[in-house]
Symmetry: C2
């Protein structure tokens, strides 16, 4: 099979033929700062199909509700407007009207229907959106949008909050003599306005993809990538992943395509999501460690996930990672209270490939090796429950004093 080429830190969306991007400053934060980019526009003149996944939080921000409504109406779609600095969350009917007005302004400026635009926001909760600033910025974005790498980079920057760097990826592969693209940009779980920890990711492809096939492909990729990361266990009101497929290449991919093409496309979407998810974790709020928590041999996938999440979200476990302390007792403790089937006498725990516990028995003579392993910025802890064949992999971070101090107040 033709290889996928995954390139990180690209301009992202503008790598996909037919997509234009803008990133402009409009001082959404109302800090008299007209340098910081805070509004992104992603645009395809050619009509797109789209798919999306959204936060499961019962408190959904109005832009999320609007995206879900537009997606349900089925398109065609032409773009995404995304701002940082204000989440437009807990803002009720007024917030929804503001999100709608944003889509309407883009539509009017570009002579398209309002339902062809998605609107996404990230930043502070419970503050009215400064609409005059946003709409002024949107006009500018419509004028300035373009296809150069600089346009792509600016767009990727404009959605950041407390992220320390832009997060982009471009996946390409050749099929039937033609090069195709799936590219994306994301922002991570940080909070320069300490009311939010939102994850936004936008993807684009030049394939023509029927809506249901696109949704299935995206949902599967999101389940295995974005939904398998944790920084602080707090799910935002605004989490959104969207993909637009503009058909620029003239090639379709769907249920009836050759298996090789379907697999390549699904793999490309997966790889793009995986790369962006990894970037989000690696740039988590004041983290110092990225830890892959692998649970294998569980009686069910649900059990494997419960154990991985109990470990990845345990304050004691995360604090010990920060301290570079190979404290396997806390891993066993968290696994034990996860609510999964677990028998201590069968449990194996290891750091990378070095066992800390085998069949419930500690291996204290290997402590020097664990200590060495946990000193790295990135390592793996594996728990084998020996109760079945189900597995789960969670990418987690440590918890630092820096995180607590950063988030303790506005």
């Amino acid at each position: 099979m033709t290889p996928l080429i995954v390139t990180l830190d690209t301009p992202g969306i503008t790598d996909v033929p037919g997509f234009e991007v803008a990133g402009v400053p409009c001082d959404i934060r109302e800090k008299q700062d007209l340098k910081r980019l805070d509004l992104a526009l992603l645009f395809s003149l050619r009509p797109c199909t789209a798919a999306g996944t959204f936060t499961k939080n019962a408190v959904k921000a109005p832009p999320v509700l609007l995206c879900q409504k537009h997606l349900a109406e089925g398109g065609p779609f032409h773009g995404i407007i995304a701002n940082s600095g204000n989440a437009n969350a807990c803002t009720g009917a007024e917030g929804l009207a503001d999100a709608q007005a944003t889509a309407q302004r883009a539509a009017a400026s570009l002579n398209l229907k309002p339902t062809s635009f998605f609107v996404c926001s990230t930043g502070r909760i419970g503050q009215p959106m400064p609409m005059p600033r946003l709409l002024k910025g949107l006009e500018r974005a419509v004028t300035e949008k373009g296809r150069t790498p600089e346009h792509g980079n600016k767009g990727a920057s404009a959605i950041l909050t407390s992220d320390t760097r832009a997060k982009t990826v471009t996946v390409s592969f050749t099929y039937d003599g033609k090069k195709h693209f799936v590219a994306g940009m994301a922002k991570g779980a940080g909070m320069i306005q300490p009311n939010m920890a939102t994850m936004l990711a936008f993807l684009a492809t030049d394939f023509s993809v029927p809506r249901s096939f696109l949704q299935k492909t995206l949902s599967e990729a999101v389940a295995g990538t974005f939904n398998c990361i944790t920084v602080d266990g707090d799910m935002s009101t605004n989490d959104t992943v969207l993909i637009l497929a503009n058909g620029h290449s003239g090639v379709s991919v769907g249920d009836k395509s050759p298996r090789e093409l379907r697999v390549l496309f699904a793999e490309a979407v997966w790889k793009a999501c995986e790369a962006l998810a990894d970037k989000i974790v690696s740039d988590g709020e004041k983290i110092t460690k990225v830890v892959e928590v692998k649970v294998v041999g569980a009686a069910s996938s649900e059990d494997a996930e419960k154990v991985a999440r109990a470990i990845g979200n345990s304050l004691l476990v995360k604090s010990s990672w920060f301290g570079e302390d190979p404290n396997w007792g806390r891993l066993a403790d968290a696994a034990g209270y996860a609510g999964a089937k677990l028998i201590e006498a069968k449990l194996d725990i290891s750091y990378n490939d070095t066992p800390a516990m085998i069949a419930g028995k500690p291996q204290p003579e290997l402590k020097p090796q664990w200590k060495e392993i946990v000193r790295a910025r990135r390592f793996t802890v594996t728990l084998n429950l020996h109760l079945g064949k189900a597995t789960f992999r969670l990418l987690a971070t440590d918890l630092t004093d820096g995180y607590v101090n950063y988030n303790k107040s506005e």
Copy 2:
């Protein structure tokens, strides 16, 4: 009805007629420290009925397994041996043999059956118990035990780990002309050996109480007190609450007792548990705030509990409490992802009695009042879901940089 008198910071168990206590040093931590008390013996010459509640962690320490076994055998019971400094957890068959040997030694010294003793441990996970030290200390405890306040105080001190103070309570009331007692001692969720966060509590009463009535009374009290607190959301392998009833007063309380007496006794046990649970939270690891999270108007008790726990265990919420930041957006966010039925447009949030959100609408003009409220060491946040009548109350703490640094390594 005759009033209950709740007195804090008493000698605890020795306030109950017929109970003897010892607290001795035996250097369980193996630090050449023969000053620190680390072994407690609670003893009643008169045979007792007993009841207990234990950790739901799938990884249970051997002493927990032994307590459960002895409890199932039905008694009669004569006492509790509890050490700090070593949790005897993740120690397998050898750990169980060590716990059994401890009960056997107490039984041999006091000419009683091994099954009449409970054994409890708290401290580091995964280390073999230094049995020669422990047994030597136990001999000394058997010799030194007594009924003075000093004996009670020493016992209460011997079970502490990173607690900054002993935790005791005595509840008394007069019934039918006779004074009765329910008293207790506890240790909190701290970790001077940073592998554990164990909660132990021991209660005693001079009533004669049939086993099943005692268990029912204790289980109800524990569900509403110890099980409604959180410091870091980590459930230990060793959590244990035990109550002994020695019948010293010659008065029985059970299913067939007059209603007044049943209610008084249940209330006394509840008050004793409540006081000890409160002391555990207030002395949580490096905390600066105790926050009562009240959820009312939920569709079900399960929903109320989910919302309260999501809030009380959210890193973002806890960090904001530390920063004295009335960040109600984080409360709404955590409530939203709790997995409970919740409609944003119905949600009220308040700090003490000052609203922050009414029916989904923020009340920003009251911010100066919220700011004042969260400056106190103790305050209440109330969420009214307006979806039913169910309620839940959780006593939670903030999360501090001190906690992270304290627990980051051994």
